[in-house]
């Protein structure tokens, strides 16, 4: 990072013949300009894969959000019952919603907020990939929701496999999947508290159940 330049130097640099004759607020602007120019944000480029990621995210946005205003208005009219019907249904609807929420809370032992989360970084095998994960405990074990992007489709005979690893290096497989640009649900029978590293590898259908070691994503799991 550069050393801070004096106002005189900045004026000479940017203002040329007007150097020394700038208004105080113009001098302030030059200092701000120099500060911003020295920020790496000015010179860092987004990844080449971001364009496609953005396109996919927009395509995945709520279906009605992509419709024209006329279409959305028509949908809203169809979806909105007459006021008397809304009143008639509201009490039953509220009761049903409460029942559903209570059921979910009981089933998941503490609600749907994640118990653990992780940010995964890409390896050199998948430089454009990235992922995050949320992990929620329930009666069945630990539900791992992996939000992965930029993992390429693999050739026939290969697939992705996710693992949790403990400090001793013991790996527990938590599921397999093919290419991804979105959410994948995986399940673990061991706690991320004891197995705090989440990895994704490329595996082959070769009847070898051990990890290939070909990691594409890796990240530490933290308590949520």
């Amino acid at each position: 990072m550069n050393e801070r330049r004096t106002n005189e130097e900045l004026e000479a640099m940017f203002a040329g013949d007007r150097a020394g004759a700038l208004e105080p607020e113009e001098v302030d602007e030059l200092a701000l300009l120099a500060d911003v120019l020295a920020d790496p944000s000015m010179w860092t480029e987004p990844g080449a894969g971001l364009e496609d990621t953005v396109m996919q995210a927009v395509a995945d946005a709520e279906p009605d959000a992509g419709a024209s205003p006329e279409v959305r208005a028509a949908v809203a009219r169809r979806a909105s019952p007459p006021r008397w019907r809304r009143w008639a249904f509201s009490a039953a609807g509220i009761a049903a919603a409460i029942a559903v929420v209570l059921g979910v809370v009981v089933a998941t032992e503490g609600g749907s907020s994640p118990d653990f989360n992780a940010q995964l970084s890409a390896s050199a095998l998948a430089p454009g990939a990235r992922a995050s994960a949320t992990i929620t405990r329930n009666n069945a074990g630990f539900r791992v929701t992996l939000d992965a992007h930029g993992l390429a489709a693999l050739p026939a005979g290969e697939y992705y496999e996710a693992w949790l690893k403990n400090a001793a290096g013991t790996l527990v497989p938590i599921g397999t999947f093919s290419s991804s640009d979105g959410r994948i649900t995986l399940w673990s029978g061991v706690s991320p508290k004891d197995f705090p590293t989440l990895t994704v590898t490329i595996e082959a259908t070769d009847n070898n159940q051990a990890s290939s070691g070909r990691k594409v994503l890796v990240g530490a799991v933290h308590s949520g």
Partner: protein, 177 residues
């Protein structure tokens, strides 16, 4: 392109991204300081812009409109990250949003997209010299040595580039929202 975006025509988002994606990324990166989070913010910015496309005023500068959306998206992510548990404190970088919870300087955010756009108008050889001077803090002589070009060439390119930036950036403190 702007009318097409407002009507949500296929291809309009891609065209908008190619025109303004780098500006949006610069704003997001200034707030978040991390490539991965900045890309998340860019993604959210374009989703939010797409959802609000029918409210977009085609007579307004789309860069300012997108910068406003980007700023909000990035600040939301910044706050989210500030709440995220990040493991042992000793393992966390000192500039990680998880430990630095001061809000970003909004005045400077407004300057970011103006400056980024101005840089993009410079010829690449002039932009490279501005970068070495300001980001890397090099002198003209050091730049001359690094790039293997004459000192006089470095000075003239630097002179032209800074005059051009000075002309383009007379309004850095005008807020976008």
């Amino acid at each position: 392109m702007l009318d097409a975006f407002r009507r949500r025509e296929p291809g309009a988002v891609r065209a908008m991204y190619r025109e303004y994606g780098r500006l949006v990324y610069a704003v997001a990166h200034r707030v978040l300081g991390r490539h991965d989070l900045a890309e998340d913010a860019v993604q959210q910015t374009f989703v939010n812009a797409w959802r609000a496309a029918d409210r977009f005023d085609v007579d307004r500068d789309p860069a300012a409109w997108l910068a406003t959306i980007a700023k909000r998206a990035a600040v939301d992510i910044y706050r989210r990250e500030a709440r995220r548990p990040a493991g042992a404190l000793g393992d966390v970088a000192t500039n990680d949003p998880a430990v630095v919870t001061l809000p970003p300087d909004v005045d400077k955010l407004d300057a970011v997209w103006h400056v980024r756009r101005a840089i993009d108008t410079l010829p690449p050889e002039e932009a490279a010299i501005v970068r070495l001077q300001h980001l890397d803090g090099m002198t003209h002589t050091e730049i001359s040595d690094k790039l293997g070009i004459a000192l006089g060439t470095v000075k003239s390119r630097s002179h032209r580039a800074h005059r051009r930036l000075g002309e383009l950036l007379g309004h850095l403190r005008e807020p976008v929202a």
